[in-house]
């Protein structure tokens, strides 16, 4: 959140693609982009990359689950190939995290724009609601929502919307409050533009600078949170591979077979670090301009 707030101060300037090109000048950002793109690649080509069926049990491997020539990262407590499960598991996270973040953005931008543009009682209602949601520790909120709705991909997305959108509302509201006072908004009012047009066409594009940085960070958070939900058994129902679930199923054997939980944990952190570095790189570039 601190990083997101710093990003808020960054004036939006330049276009997304120009920035992406500029990314090559920020080694940190480039490293982040490489990490993220690596996992995107893995997720897309999972059927070709994964050596085995992720849910196939190999009973012979149960005797010796350690990594060997056949199973490069070893097998888990049910004799399933960890490499294949990590490869397939990347799909879960890379589908659920972007969709969840995107949905949180739709909700967050809509309410943030309304709140900042109309102010008054609209702002009061929206702001108090976000305050209430923000006052819950995120993990408590997740557990409450998933316990109530039951574990499924859709419900994970719903939970992410509830947790992430209040923060997005705050960012968008802040920028909108500032932008609505600028002369170009007055000019739009004077030619008779509707409030919806002003919010979506005039103001929204100018929030993109901070939001692009924030979205990268938020993907990282969401990845962690999906992992945590999986670990708590509130993620996707078994047996589909899910990085957090993989850690949860095997962490009891940490002392004897550390590889079972270590490799999925590394997968989670590398993706999260990738998103964070990408966000850092983007912020560095936007500050430089």
């Amino acid at each position: 959140m601190v990083q997101a707030e710093q990003a808020l101060k960054v004036k939006s300037s330049g276009r997304f693609w120009r920035r992406l090109k500029l990314l090559t000048e920020s080694p940190i950002g480039l490293a982040g982009a490489v990490l993220v793109l690596f996992w995107v690649f893995v997720a897309i080509f999972a059927p070709w990359l994964a050596p085995y069926d992720p849910n196939a049990n190999n009973y012979e491997a149960l005797a010796d689950p350690l990594p060997n020539d056949m199973f490069l990262l070893g097998t888990d407590n049910q004799g399933r190939d960890i490499l294949s499960r990590i490869i397939w598991g990347s799909r879960t996270v890379l589908i659920v995290a972007p969709i969840a973040t995107f949905c949180a953005y739709v909700v967050g931008c809509t309410l943030g724009l309304l709140s900042g543009y109309y102010r008054g009682w609209v702002d009061a209602v929206i702001s108090r609601l976000t305050d209430i949601l923000l006052s819950f520790p995120a993990i408590v909120l997740y557990i409450l929502i998933i316990m109530r709705l039951g574990p499924s991909a859709i419900n994970v997305i719903v939970a992410v919307i509830f947790v992430a959108s209040p923060q997005i509302i705050r960012i968008v509201r802040g920028i909108t409050l500032e932008q609505r006072e600028l002369d170009y908004v007055t000019a739009a009012k004077m030619r008779g533009e509707s409030a919806i047009y002003i919010m979506l066409v005039e103001i929204l594009p100018n929030t993109r600078g901070p939001l692009i940085v924030d979205s990268c960070l938020r993907m990282g958070y969401t990845t962690i949170q999906i992992g945590v939900l999986g670990f708590l058994g509130l993620g996707l129902p078994p047996p589909d591979p899910d990085w957090g679930g993989m850690v949860q199923e095997t962490y009891g054997m940490m002392s004897t077979w550390p590889h079972m939980s270590l490799y999925p944990a590394i997968a989670i952190s590398s993706l999260v670090v990738g998103f964070s570095l990408l966000a850092d790189g983007l912020r560095e570039i936007s500050l430089r301009d």
């Binding site: 002369d183 170009y184 000019a187 739009a188 004077m190 008779g192 533009e193 594009p205 100018n206």
Partner: protein
């Protein structure tokens, strides 16, 4: 005389306080090394004041920061020497520099709040300086601080010492900063646009103060400004900077009266001279803009914009700085110096006037007893907050095809009036009639298409007037589609027409605001305002954020467009010379009221309202021999939440009669020619006011 000690003594006395020898300043950027200042030479004697003028981007501030050695991470001095009191500043250690800054060398910035610590009382901030540099006791420092606050004309210094910066007005803050700069009796004071953010009357007071203090403390001053008039008030010498080079330097009166370099001439010609108006001549802007320092040409940097340029002579070899024959210490960097025709500054086209709009007398805008009172909604702490009386009993009219100027300092209600006219706010009471409609009480969302179309606005800040996310073409096309109700393809051709009308090339349709200069952005904003072919254009300080050279071009554009389109212009400004040039009628506002109204000739000549008189006397004039006796207004504008029973100007009026001014509302003198002045002083007495202030 042979005593070496005494010899050294005389040598140091004669030595200039500051010498720059071939100073080259470069910035290291991603695009490579940029030499923003190629080779700068000048020196400054003790107690001398040198003005540095030029357009923005010419390197004035860079020079100031180089002298302070504050160039930041990317900037460095790559060649030459800066000698301060004969010592090479490049050889000084950080420690030595720190000792010099503040004690021997002080700087005053444009924004006073950036030099004051908002969490510390003024007193403590001032005391720090001598305690640190002169090692005096707190009590001694305190006495000195109080004395200096008195010297910068702040009444009740002891009270000011106890205040925090945000409790002072902008003018007071700037005086505190000047006092702070003088605390350790510096030998050199660098002032970077010290009065740019201030109102004219406050500016006049600060400038007078700087001039006084300089003589009193014998401080040398480098005074940077884009406003030639302010420089003339403070400095003995002036250096005109263009593209990082000093193109002309000399005694200020000689340079301004007889400018030699085409750039200096261009700058001076861009400003409307007092007494000139749009019917007698157009302003002469300088074409083009300051080029990028990435590609420095071989010859004269100004060649591309110079009307006297002769490529063979000007662009082939480096240009030497030549002395002007017959004038001591006056130099200019121009090879064609001897061939240039003599400069005539105040040329008024004789005979037939350029234009004379037909007097229709038809009123496009009639404002009748207009009031705007803001009633802030209560909070839990304060259920009945004070009302803000932004506009009180405004009566004005604007004729078709004419310009009504509204002048006054910040807080006088100019912008509130614009907001009511445009429908961003609605009137509390009274009428605003536009053509046939009563629009004072209709917010902009509820106005009809025809009403919206008829009234458009040009804003002050070129950076916020256009949406940074949209292209120029999009902005203009959208306005055309909304206001004229035409199709996208029609809008495309008409947008091209509008761009041509504001003298911008067609390629600009695909540009985004950040790719445009301030003047270009303002042209696009004007094109956008013209999209609906409005009957009334409200221009809120449209040129005050622009360089004089660009300002002239925009003013010319406004005049031309007004003639072509027969549009009425409400021109809000604090710049009295621009108003004199552009306006037909002038309303002078103070604290939400119109204190004087009349044609431009009436307002700029006696009888004046005492406030108009003070404003006119305060306006800086860049003409030698036309400087005026200044009337310094004390105090600041009273709060708009107070209900003032008498004359609003009574608390600051230098010609106040007595209790009657405080207690009774002033009567309005109306002459047969329609000149209105609201003042207790009889019209005959007002007519005897200093006539020099006018011309």
């Amino acid at each position: 005389m042979t005593n070496p000690a005494s010899l050294r003594q005389t040598a140091t006395v004669a030595r200039p306080i500051l010498e720059l020898h071939d100073v080259k300043i470069s910035y290291v950027t991603r695009a490579g090394r940029i030499d923003v200042v190629p080779a700068l030479n000048f020196s400054l004697a003790k107690g001398e004041a040198l003005g540095l003028v030029g357009e923005s981007g010419c390197g004035k501030s860079t020079v100031a920061y180089a002298i302070m050695k504050y160039l930041g991470g990317a900037g460095r001095i790559t060649n030459g020497q800066i000698l301060f009191n004969g010592q090479d500043m490049a050889r000084m250690s950080e420690d030595e520099l720190r000792r010099i800054r503040g004690s021997k060398l002080a700087m005053v910035y444009q924004d006073p709040m950036s030099s004051l610590n908002p969490t510390m009382r003024i007193g403590r901030q001032l005391e720090e300086v001598p305690m640190l540099h002169m090692k005096v006791s707190r009590e001694e420092a305190r006495q000195r601080a109080i004395k200096l606050l008195g010297e910068v004309n702040l009444s009740d210094p002891e009270m000011i010492m106890e205040r925090y910066p945000h409790q002072l007005s902008g003018g007071q803050q700037q005086r505190v900063v000047i006092a702070m700069a003088l605390m350790a009796e510096p030998d050199l004071l660098v002032m970077d646009e010290p009065t740019t953010g201030l109102d004219v009357t406050v500016e006049a007071a600060v400038l007078d103060l700087v001039a006084q203090l300089r003589h009193k403390h014998d401080t040398a001053i480098i005074f940077i400004s884009h406003n030639l008039g302010t420089v003339l008030r403070v400095c003995d010498r002036v250096g005109v900077m263009y593209f990082g080079e000093l193109v002309e330097e000399g005694p200020i009166r000689e340079v301004f009266a007889n400018p030699r370099h085409p750039y200096t001439r261009g700058l001076l010609d861009s400003i409307p001279t007092m007494g000139a108006d749009k019917h007698s001549r157009r302003l002469s802007p300088i074409a083009g803009q300051v080029p990028s320092a990435l590609a420095r040409p071989v010859g004269c940097g100004f060649a591309a914009r110079c009307s006297f340029c002769e490529p063979a002579a000007c662009t082939t070899a480096p240009i030497p700085t030549l002395p002007i024959p017959g004038e001591a210490h006056h130099e200019a960097k121009c090879v064609r110096l001897a061939e240039l025709p003599p400069h005539r500054r105040f040329q008024v086209v004789q005979g037939e006037a350029i234009s004379e709009t037909a007097k229709t007398g038809e009123n496009v805008l009639t404002i009748d007893h207009l009031y705007k009172i803001y009633r802030p909604s209560g909070t839990i702490f304060d259920s009945k907050p004070a009302e803000v009386r932004a506009l009180t009993d405004i009566e004005l009219t604007a004729e078709r095809g004419r310009t009504l100027a509204i002048v006054g300092e910040s807080g006088c209600g100019k912008s509130s009036l614009a907001k009511v006219l445009t429908g961003i706010e609605v009137a509390t009471q009274g009428k605003v009639k536009l053509i046939d409609w009563e629009i004072g009480h209709i917010p902009v969302e509820k106005r009809s298409q025809a009403q919206k179309k008829s009234i458009q606005m040009v804003f002050q800040n070129p950076d916020s007037t256009l949406n940074p996310s949209h292209t120029v073409g999009f902005a203009i096309r959208r306005a055309l589609q909304r206001l004229r109700g035409i199709t996208a393809s029609q809008a495309k051709t008409q947008a091209a027409e509008l761009l041509r009308l504001v003298n911008l090339p067609m390629e600009f349709v695909n540009r985004r605001p950040r790719q445009l200069s301030g003047g270009q952005k303002q042209r696009v904003a004007i094109a956008r305002a013209l999209a609906g072919d409005p009957a009334l254009i409200i221009a809120d300080e449209p040129v005050s954020a622009l360089d004089v050279s660009v300002q002239a071009a925009i003013i010319n554009l406004l005049i031309d467009l007004q003639e072509k389109r027969d549009a009425t212009l409400v021109f809000i400004s604090h710049d009295l010379s621009v108003v004199r040039f552009l306006a037909d009628h002038v309303a002078v506002m103070y604290l939400g009221r119109v204190v004087e109204y009349g044609t431009v000739e009436q307002v700029y000549a006696p009888p004046y309202h005492p406030y108009t008189e003070a404003l006119l006397s305060a306006a800086p004039v860049a003409e030698v021999g036309k400087e005026r006796d200044r009337i310094i207004l004390e105090g600041s504008i009273p709060s708009a939440t107070k209900l003032i029973p008498g004359c609003p100007f009574a608390s600051r009026c230098p010609r106040k009669l007595g209790a009657v001014c405080d207690d009774q509302p002033p009567p309005e003198h109306v002459t047969q020619q329609g000149h209105r002045i609201a003042c207790h002083i009889p019209l005959e007495d007002l007519a005897k006011l200093n006539t020099r202030a006018a011309e």
